[in-house]
Symmetry: C2
Subunit: 186 residues, 2 copies
Amino acid sequence: MANCITIPEAMKFCSKCGHPVETRIPPGDQRPRAVCGHCGTVHYENPRVVVGCVPEWQGRILLCRRAIEPRRGFWTAPAGFLEIGESMHAAAARETDEEALAQVEVGSLLSVVNVLHAAQVHVMFRATMRGERHGAGAESLETGLYAEAEIPWDEMAFASVRFALERYFADRRAGLERVHFHDIVR
Amino acid sequence: MANCITIPEAMKFCSKCGHPVETRIPPGDQRPRAVCGHCGTVHYENPRVVVGCVPEWQGRILLCRRAIEPRRGFWTAPAGFLEIGESMHAAAARETDEEALAQVEVGSLLSVVNVLHAAQVHVMFRATMRGERHGAGAESLETGLYAEAEIPWDEMAFASVRFALERYFADRRAGLERVHFHDIVR
């Protein structure tokens, strides 16, 4: 989840021909876009998708303490940017492998959080660990398995992950697997 | 759903400083990225999110016949790119207003389709029309309300929308509102 709270930087030059772009509303559009004054290319910027999961092992949850900014030293569930050519389920499993060195079976959809100020959508799944093995990947300082009562709520890195964990435990107590939506604006 | 089957064009110039970019794997990364040889900016490209809904009015479903490429003349449910600063629910309602001049209450999540060859995720919701009024927006040739038996299955524009509609009717018959995942690779 690198670069997690930055919005796309304003485009200054056309990525296709290298000439300066101007900001204007193209014909038939309703929003200002970066448009190349030389080749006419319209450069659309859209939200990015961050995908992760809540990995469970014998009732406990796998968390990672972040080794990178933003929110270095704070705790999160494994999550990161969806890559081109990758399904959401595959991304959740890959991020868990990279950040927590753990293998998971990705389960049902847990939460979709529109992080509006960051131009991101954070999508979290339930997941089951295939074994107890875990450890700190390159982006983590440490990893740990936490019972609900042990979760470091005051040291969570991201509101979207806190939201997902709260709903995870509430649903687990109720014996349900629901999908939860939430909007965050700083 | 303009530009719906195109993948992001390869970046040739840095959008921040206008110098040529090169393709290489940045330190700590696992994938080739466009990196500026002048200012060092790494330009990440990620899938874009298309959001839409299946609007229902008294048992019938609102569809639009596309006035634009790709798939001009074929039928779709209202859908389009999620914009920065916009929630998924807001995007589904906006696209329905723009493409079919209809007002909807967006309901439960219906389907999430990873359209891998297009670098897109297509997210569809159930929705209820607030009234019978509908009509062709700028991107539609016509709109219509269809009973299940009347859906023009052989003239559907996109596999992701066909998937959503099939699951919509199956769930409605079963009295369920489930979330369905699917991957499409051309």
